[in-house]
Symmetry: C7
Subunit: 248 residues, 7 copies
């Protein structure tokens, strides 16, 4: 009880430090991320895989409008988890940064540069008053000008991390356990898609549904972001025996 | 009790995160939407249907002044539920966006582009201090330049969703149950109007009144928004045996 | 008790939503309207009637300085109820809008356009921080360019309504009951004045006083706002047997 | 007790509505007016009379520096009650408005126009945050261009009233009772001065002192504001048997 | 107890009215004035006298650096009591006003004009948020262009008063009692200095010390502000038998 | 208990002083530093050594993306501990300062000048409202234009310190005890690296891992910042028998 | 208890007056000064002495980086006590003022002018909201253009004082007692240094350490600020038998 009432004292109004040096508003924004359905990123030898659980709540909802995968530039894709409207703001910010870089330097923005522009923007909302932090985590994947696949995470504090494979959103911990066990550096894109889907299936009681998933890859050779359509997802799921029973 | 007093601690002042990652001011704005009478949207093969329950409180009130259906552009209509004055702000914003698009690009704005301009505007009011969120949900329906009918929702968090059919406002859940059961992809506009009215009637104890309803369609062929006048509504209701007993 | 202390938690500082989706500061502003003496509007076939109860508190006070009826433009009048100083701000705003319309488009502003400009202004004070809502309701009556009489209400939330006849301020509910019972669509201006005065008399224990009333009409033919002088009011009251006993 | 603690909840910080629709900060500003010594205005057939009780607290204080009567323009005078420093701000504002009117339109400002400019300024301080209301009431008296004497009041809410005779400040109610009983429409300036002094004397236990009073008139013929000097006040008081015993 | 807790409710944050119409922050600023050592002003037939008690706390402190007497213009001096750093701000403001007046109108500022410029500045800090009132009272003395000595006070509310003789700061009430008893209109400057020193001595248990006093005069003939040096103060004190025992 | 509730009263909202003259928000920001893994700086005769514990939480995380060592200019490196996103802001600020200095004066910025520019920036966030302090400490090391190695610390209060050797972040006190005991002024760079690693190992239960460490030197001769790659770190650790058991 | 809880009510948020006229935030800033190690200033016939206790907490810390003595201009030095980062802001401000004076008037700034510029700056932070007061006291010593040594203090309220000799920071009262007893007006610089060191030694249990001290003089003849190096301090301490036992 004591602990709880103390905690409550430091998490109101603007983002300030608690006596133990924590920023509660940022930590609560992380809870907003956990409330969102999962997104997964996997870096392979020949590109990056992004997979998103769309958690479609009604058959009348168009699954394609649940925005969890976004093309930020030809060679960069972003998957999100958490507060959808906040994600849209950051995606727009990322796209503008990509365009500005192209205009200013005549070349595509690097994945790392883009990630850090986004995290610096996020950090401002945790330090300067008059606004709340962003309640969203992003997975930013793409191909560098040397052709190397890169995979980053932005969290609500504004810290950038680079990963071989990761999950954000619901069940992050369980999915990452699966990834840790099965990830292999030498995977190709197809194996990466399989890993991500199996990791997601490992936390789904009922298997996966083709209309409740988003899959995108950024191929190291073509340096192009491309999303699977629902048909391709369905056939892939069936092929790998991941389809939910009701859809079979 | 414990739970309640904790909740109260995170829903004051500007929009901030609660310990479980929720934005209470946004959730309360959703309650404001529920306090408004229902609006329904149905997407059919040859256009979009918008139906609004106007809940006229006095015979001296001009039903036409209860604004729940709005023409945003020639080819786009908007139905609202919730705080009426807030809705007017967003409708005005939508109309300006449509005009700006026409001026800047020489062509009508697409339904999706308009929806996302509106939701981005809504999101700002949930993150930056000094204002409250909008207490209103919109149904934005229209025809795309490929002639395809589209139907979107904007909610108080600023998230856009695309639907085949949906309801916002009072009795949303019950109306959507009706829609889920009776919606058919191959419906035409007339069947869509019937579905929306029957869905609304399913939650009205006393049948529908012609002066308490608004009906609008956006036809895929003409790409024109058009509202039914009261006479046409009355004859339609009579024809389909939906008229309130007192009006018969 | 529980309910009361909960309510108190959401009605301080800037205007924010309560857990049940209400804006308490707006609802309290409605109470400020109820604290004001009544104003009544009646739409007739040949014009609009505005009647205001001036509630003169002292014989030394000049009744004409109790401002409840205002000419907004040649063809538009406004009656108010509630916080007098707030009303003055909105009247000034309405007059400026009428002038701007005339300058910009070379024609008089329509009653509906003026009403919505005023309500949009009111809404801003309920959403953006740093100010309180307006504690006043307006009845805006006038003649459209087609010669049609129109009668609108603006409330503290910024919602516009069109009425056949209405009351704002003290005893609104009782006066509207009287109006509902006796209003006839085919009334002429003179009958409209009679209806408004009788409705007001129905809630006055002691009859009406000529120096405690304001009466204005906007005639559909002349399209001119015109106020009765005290003498004309007195003779009218006498003629219709509405005069307070002490004045007879 | 319950009532009191409820009241306390709505009268802090910026000016907001209480659940019963009141603006407590404005009502408390009215208390600040009551804490000030009285000022009286009387409108007569040939001009306006302003009388102020200066309540001199020490024989070392120069009575002339207790500012309660002010010339706003050649033809307009202002008497104040309440917070002296606040009054000075409004007087300065009034003088600037008078000068601007003269410059812009080439003619003296009317008493009513000046009054409403002042009340609109006062209202802003009751609605927009970041400042408190003015703790002062003004009596504005003068001659219109038709030669007609006019007498107005501004209160802390920013409402303008026109009076035949009135008092503001301490003992307002008792002084106005006296005025109501003895005021006659056909009074001349001299009778007006007598009425005001007798009204003031009616609430003074010890009679009036010539150095504790201010008297000014605005003559309808000359259209000039003029203040009595102490000698003239003394002889007037003696003549009318109003002199305090100690001064006789 | 009840009274006290009620009072506490209205004296926080920005300066707002209490239910009885008081501005507590202004009243507390008056307490800050009382915490300062006394300053005295005396108006005589041939000039103004300013005397300040410097209350030197340590023999190592240079008495001359305890700023209580200030030359504002050639013909105007200011004595202060209260918060020293606040006094400096107002003195600087006064000096700038004097310079501006000289530049703009080619003549020295009058004592009354200067005083009112200062009080208007003080008032702003009591009404507009984001700052606290000035915790200082000033005695402003000087010679008018007609050669007449004038003596004013500014208090923390921003009210200007004119005095024959006054004290501000500690023991104000006791010193003013002495002044009231012994002040004579026909005094000359020398007698004025004597009166001020004797008044100060009347509240000092141990007599006066030459290094703990400041004395300044503004002579009506020369129209020049001039301060006594310590030697002259000492000989004056000795001559009038006012010297503290330890200094004799 | 008493002490604790008193403390809580002074550490909310903007950074203000507590009754004992402390700035709690700054002290809590120091706790944020302690929550970060350690960084160590050692000044040697021929350069500066920076070592950072990266505390890699997952084998899927790319250690290189855990940013604790930064090149600020050719001749200056920075190690950080605490809130990572805050550190990025200060590093960016430092880099801009270095560039500006080069542009403006045509020469590299000195280590001390850079440090003080950073601390002045940090101080602003502890005094001016509307933002929180930076939750990060920096170690800034480099070579002066005289070729002299310099080593500074910036803390969350904005105070600059110069050190021979220091640690920031977790276990600071224990690591500094080790440094105090083993530091020798005459050390060369290689010995400095050894000292830093041994100091870090002294607080690590399981030895050091090559992928969990960052090592950088700024050589006094070349005046160049250079980071060890993972291979070089591994061989160094093995050579000095510091490798964690699992990695051997 | 009562007293304490009352006090707590007036020391939050912006700097406001308490009921007894105190500014608690300023008084708490004075506590921040007391938390800092002492600085001493002594004015002699041929110059000013500044001595600072550096309180070096670790042998690895470079004593020279503990900034307590600062050259503000060729002829002016400043010693500080309290919050180090705040001191840096004021020192920078002082230096800019000295430069501006030189540029604008072509001559060095006087010690008194510089002091008052600094205190006026400090005062602003105690009156205007949105920032906290400076938690630092300065001793400003220098030579005037007449060659006269001057010695001033600035405190957190923004009040300037001139002293013969003073201390700020820890043990102020005990050190000033020593100074009062031993200060002689006719001291030369060397005697002044001795007085300051002996005063500091009087409150140090273990004697003084050469690396824990700063000594500066501003010579009246050369008008130059100069600091002792550690060697000179050590030999001086030894000569006067003030060296700490461990250093002997």
């Amino acid at each position: 009880m004591q602990g709880q009432s103390q905690q409550q004292a430091y998490d109101r109004g603007i983002t300030i430090f608690s006596p133990d040096g924590r920023l509660y508003q940022v930590e609560y924004a992380r809870e907003a991320v956990k409330r969102g359905s999962a997104s997964i990123g996997v870096r392979t030898t020949d590109g990056v895989v992004l997979v998103a659980d769309k958690r479609i709540s009604s058959p009348l909802l168009e699954g394609s409008s649940v925005e969890k995968l976004h093309k930020a530039d030809d060679h960069i894709g972003i998957a999100s988890a958490g507060h959808v409207a906040d994600a849209r703001q950051l995606i727009d910010y990322a796209r503008r940064q990509a365009q500005i870089n192209q205009l200013r330097y005549g070349e595509p923005i690097s994945v790392e540069t883009l990630t850090k522009a986004v995290t610096d923007n996020i950090q401002q909302y945790t330090q300067v008053g008059g606004a709340r932090p962003f309640g969203v985590a992003l997975i930013i994947g793409g191909i560098d000008d040397s052709g190397r696949p890169r995979l980053f995470e932005t969290d609500p504090s504004g810290t950038p991390y680079e990963w071989k494979a990761l999950a954000v959103g619901a069940d992050r911990s369980a999915i990452e356990d699966y990834l840790k066990e099965h990830y292999r550096e030498e995977m190709d894109l197809d194996a990466g898609v399989g890993l991500a889907l199996n990791a997601l299936a490992s936390v789904s009681d009922d298997g996966l549904r083709s209309d409740g998933l988003g899959i995108a890859t950024i191929d190291a050779e073509t340096e192009q972001y491309s999303e699977f359509d629902e048909e391709r997802i369905a056939s892939y799921l069936e092929e790998h025996d991941l389809l939910a029973e009701e859809e079979q």
